[in-house]
């Protein structure tokens, strides 16, 4: 035990003095997530706010043929402006990207309307261009509702109730809560936490085998009158500490970052209170041991520091796999999922963010299975530390 503590203390001091370790553990992991997240959120907020509030400028050819329609569009936040002179020029303008959407009102429009024949309006847009298509959709919707309005007036004029046009009334009830909507986007947060957590211990894990070997300090260490298990456990414990600190920092930095993100505007109110921060820490904590042992194990098979870094970067991505598979297949959380590390933590975290009651049995299964796998990997690490091949 004393050996273990000695190794632990030395690794902590050693790595606190190493700027590279410190930067990845305490800066990169905790900052990378919130920053990327803030970027994505702000981008999507900008986009969606854009849609509703922005006045759309719509070039219309032949405005004089439909003054009422023009007034209708103007009242729906669509600014009618003069378009190109000819139909060909309009098509050119849309193809070339100068305009996203152009409407042409033919001369016969008023006449057709008066005679109750379908009045033709042309809408020119590039449906392959999704960005432009959003503007076109707004115009299309406006035209459609104008058409509906006229139909209603015609029916009323003939003494028929306009409701006859609506044989079915679809009433959509959205049961997603603001917290629930957040969960979709915030679901990716769990990966950021796992990522930060792994980054925190990466250099220590490499140092345990490949690093010590490359520096030439492994053989002298192994020739001391101590058991190798103790050395390994002390090193893994130090790795765990850095990972836990990194996790805690990244949770806190997210907590602060979310305060500055106008999530309500996206209809999201994630439940990320200090209580959730603490709970999330304990839900994710079992993954620390697993991550530390896994990275140490991977690094112990490599020949050099560089090679270890390459392989560990694969380990950094691996925890996303179960999360990705489940979200692609849109599987509902089940008891069995709680046995899968990273996925179970992800699901529990999403539940907490959604402000849904967290199943304590799930928490227990998640923690114990993750810890069990972590312990198994640690044991394998210790076994491998005894073999001669370790010396390279």
């Amino acid at each position: 035990m004393r050996t273990l503590l000695t190794v632990f203390a030395k690794e902590v001091v050693d790595n606190f003095r190493d700027r590279r370790t410190l930067a990845t553990a305490l800066l990169m992991g905790p900052l990378f997530g919130p920053m990327l997240f803030a970027f994505v959120i702000n981008l999507s907020i900008e986009r969606s706010l854009d849609d509703v509030d922005r006045t759309l400028e719509l070039p219309v050819i032949g405005q004089q043929h439909a003054p009422n329609l023009m007034a209708y569009l103007n009242s729906h936040n669509i600014d009618v402006v003069d378009g190109p002179d000819t139909r060909e020029a309009a098509v050119q303008a849309v193809t070339g990207g100068q305009n996203d959407v152009i409407v042409i009102v033919p001369e016969a429009f008023g006449e057709q309307l008066a005679e109750n024949v379908p009045a033709k309006v042309e809408l020119i847009s590039d449906q392959a261009n999704t960005q432009a298509e959003r503007d076109a959709r707004r115009v299309r919707t406006a035209l459609h509702s104008y058409s509906q309005e006229i139909a209603g007036i015609r029916l009323v004029a003939r003494g028929v109730s306009p409701t006859i046009l609506r044989p079915i009334n679809v009433d959509e009830i959205d049961v997603s809560t603001p917290s629930g909507r957040s969960a979709m986007l915030l679901g990716m947060m769990s990966y950021f936490f796992i990522f930060a957590l792994l980054m925190g211990g990466m250099y220590l894990a490499i140092d345990t085998t490949a690093g010590e070997r490359e520096r030439g300090s492994l053989e002298p260490l192994l020739s001391l009158p101590v058991t190798r298990d103790q050395l390994m456990f002390g090193k893994i414990a130090a790795t765990c500490l850095f990972m836990a600190v990194s996790l805690l920092l990244s949770l806190c930095s997210f907590y602060v970052a979310l305060k500055f993100m106008p999530l309500e505007q996206l209809g999201m109110t994630p439940n990320f209170s200090p209580t959730v921060v603490v709970a999330a820490f304990f839900v994710l904590a079992p993954f620390v041991l697993l991550g530390a042992a896994l990275m140490t194990l991977v690094a112990s098979f490599t020949k050099s520091y560089k090679e270890a870094q390459t392989w560990i970067s694969i380990v950094l991505v691996a925890p996303t796999l179960p999360i990705l598979i489940v979200s692609i297949l849109t599987l509902r959380p089940q008891l069995e999922f709680m046995f899968i590390p990273s996925l179970s933590q992800h699901l529990l975290l999403v539940d907490m963010i959604k402000n849904e009651p967290v199943n304590l049995l799930h928490v227990a299964i998640s923690a114990s299975s993750t810890l069990a796998i972590g312990a198994l990997l640690t044991w394998i690490c210790a076994r491998l530390y005894r073999r001669e091949g370790l010396l390279g």
Binding site: T6, K10, G216, S217, P220, L222, S223, V226, T227
Partner: protein, 261 residues
């Protein structure tokens, strides 16, 4: 009376017969490469034994078996009666090892590097400071003891590494090519240190590929070539048996006597 050295020397005499390194026909292969093919020798207490041989002769492999990081395929080796395989932990307690190209922790100071090993070896907190201080003086590293070891010269690194391997005051000291990369001054002070260790009653076993160095220091010389012992004798004995007055010629003659692997 005459300081610690003498005291230890007396103590080791009393411990007597067991304070030796015994290597009994060990074999070790790495894949198809037969690095060591039946090496046997003894390194007695209070003497300096030199393991001499060209590069790739099997010196390092033999020493690595002795400080227990490698297991021999065949044969056995004991340190003060402790088998290096069966009682490897006990055997390690009796040895201080300086592996070839040993490295330090660059973010720790020289003193911290030594203290870390002292703590690992289970010294009491009070004893650690005394022991580290003693070694700092013994190896004359006062000037840079409190600097981080990053950027140390090879000579400084070797001194700290040796100090580090002596923290638990082992009776037997194994040094693998300690003079590698050292300049004249550093080699000189290394030689002085090895003599000091001998005077303090330690059994010193060190490897080298430089004949003059070994001849100047050692009581016994074990010449290894192609994984086998060519000659095990004193410098004079080797001259006599090879019929060469010049030690370098004797070394070359001895190596030629071993058939290739």
């Amino acid at each position: 009376m005459h300081g610690k050295g003498v005291h230890h020397a007396v103590l080791y005499r009393l411990l007597g017969a067991y304070a030796v390194i015994v290597v009994d026909s060990i074999h070790k292969s790495f894949g198809k490469v037969r690095a060591v093919r039946g090496v046997s020798f003894e390194a007695p207490d209070g003497k300096i034994t030199g393991l001499l041989g060209p590069n790739g002769a099997g010196k390092s492999t033999t020493l690595r078996v002795l400080y227990t990081v490698l297991r021999p395929d065949e044969g056995r080796a004991t340190i003060d009666g402790q088998d290096v395989v069966k009682d490897s932990l006990e055997a390690r307690r009796c040895i201080g090892a300086l592996p070839h190209g040993a490295g330090l922790y660059p973010h720790l100071t020289a003193r911290e590097n030594i203290a870390y090993y002292a703590r690992l070896c289970g010294l009491d907190n009070g004893a650690i400071d005394d022991r580290v201080e003693h070694l700092v003086r013994l190896l004359e590293i006062d000037d840079f003891a409190d600097r981080r070891t990053k950027g140390f010269s090879q000579g400084q690194r070797t001194k700290v590494s040796i100090a580090r391997s002596l923290v638990h005051n082992p009776k037997n000291v194994i040094l693998d090519e300690p003079s590698n990369g050292l300049d004249v001054m550093a080699t000189r002070s290394l030689r002085d240190l090895i003599m000091k260790l001998k005077e303090a009653g330690h059994c010193v076993l060190f490897s080298s590929h430089v004949m003059q160095e070994v001849a100047a220091l050692c009581d016994d010389i074990v010449i290894i070539a192609n994984g086998k012992v060519a000659i095990d004798d004193s410098a004079d004995g080797i001259r006599e048996r090879t019929g060469c007055d010049d030690l370098e010629d004797a070394f070359v003659r001895a190596i030629e006597m071993v058939e290739p692997a």
